[in-house]
């Protein structure tokens, strides 16, 4: 009888898979720094999310610590549950960019959500950073 009542005495919740500070991420472009960090088994860590919630999702800009440097990046895919018609991936994918929004690599080797086209276009202003350059190096949309 005691085993029946001892089964659950505390509540557990499912993993939410948020991208927040100190989350490990996966660089999916072919920039040298990103490739090296992934090959060494030291994937970058998120150290800041540039939005009000502090939880990143597709299209959000973040700052990552990679090989002892601070680099900005765009999230291009999350493990988190997504709304209908938005893909969910098995890894948290990022693409490294510089301050102007230009990607450090020249090719993205994983599928990119199509919504990202609209999201990044909305985030780009005429005199600010141009994030749409990232879309040009993507090889596959889903």
């Amino acid at each position: 009888m005691s085993t029946i009542f001892a089964a659950r005495q505390f509540s557990t919740s499912a993993v939410s898979n948020h991208i927040m500070k100190l989350t490990r991420l996966r660089v999916v472009d072919n920039s040298t720094i990103g490739k090296q960090a992934m090959a060494e088994g030291k994937p970058p860590r998120c150290i800041h999310v540039y939005n009000k919630k502090g939880i990143g999702t597709i299209g959000d800009k973040i700052m990552v610590a990679i090989k002892g440097e601070k680099v900005k990046a765009i999230i291009v895919g999350c493990v988190k549950e997504q709304k209908p018609n938005i893909p969910r991936f098995d890894s948290n994918n990022i693409v490294l960019i510089d301050d102007n929004g230009t990607p450090l690599g020249t090719r993205i080797n994983v599928p990119i959500p199509i919504v990202l086209r609209t999201i990044l276009k909305e985030k780009t202003f005429s005199k600010g950073a141009d994030y749409t350059k990232l879309l040009a190096i993507a090889s596959n949309y889903v």
Binding site: P87, D90, V110, I114, T118
Partner: protein, 300 residues
Amino acid sequence: MLLKTLNFHRFKCGFAPVLRASRLFSNSPPSDVQQPSDESISGKQVKPERKSVVPSNSRFIYPEFLPDPKIEWRNSLREKLERMDMIQRRKHIDIPEFYVGSIMAVSSSNQHAPNKATRFVGICIQRLGCGLRANFTLRNVIKHVGTEMKYQLYDPTIQKIEVLRLEKRLDDELLYLRDAPNEYSTFDENMEVEYLPEGAPVPVNPEMVKLKPRPWRARWERKNMKGLADLGLEDRFYERAEELATPWEKYDLMKQYRKTIPEEEQKEIFAEVYSELHEVEVMRKKLKRKKVFIKPTKNV
């Protein structure tokens, strides 16, 4: 008020349908479920020959027509209106029969895509929801990255739903494919449709999945999955799983009753919608026969 009377009605006839409902919702294949022969008891109000037309496996083919059994969420008027909307939608697009484990392709309009349309191929790993909220999740591995897409079955942006390979798996949910190696959920995007002979039963794919080593997204040893090969864990995991198992729950008739829609209610619902669903089905078959003619292509 409506809800209250409905509750009362359910409570009143609470115990009679329990046994039947529990039999209906066991995991047995649809063919063993027979229509009970005590039709004559309630046969005066409803025509018995009309009822027998509805095939007993409708609840597997059209599960979203059955409302959520949770009593607080029931509303007979809303359910009826939703069913009407669903039939209207089915008249416009072909929503085929599919199960968890079937390989499907969904073409949908997408305002973000350059050519305003996308297509996604994958294995159905989950089917949830009822009424207009019914949805399903497709999974595929694209460029070595597992990708999942959730679609709503009655989403007006969907242009076409194709079932490339109609089959079932051993489990009702294949979420463990997320923890399995990529080859278990890799499907070719240009897959051809595999046709089954008319009237053949839906084949069950007895594939056993070998998971990657832990950590996993869930404690699969506790979930009692039939489609998982030996998990290769230490004994303490299985011991704990046994401690936490609730094998008596399958005998809890009240629990089963609350989790399912009684057979009488199911019959009522399908009797209401079946004639129109059948019409839609017949029209679809006619169209399919027309489409079968394939223009010969030049081979160089």
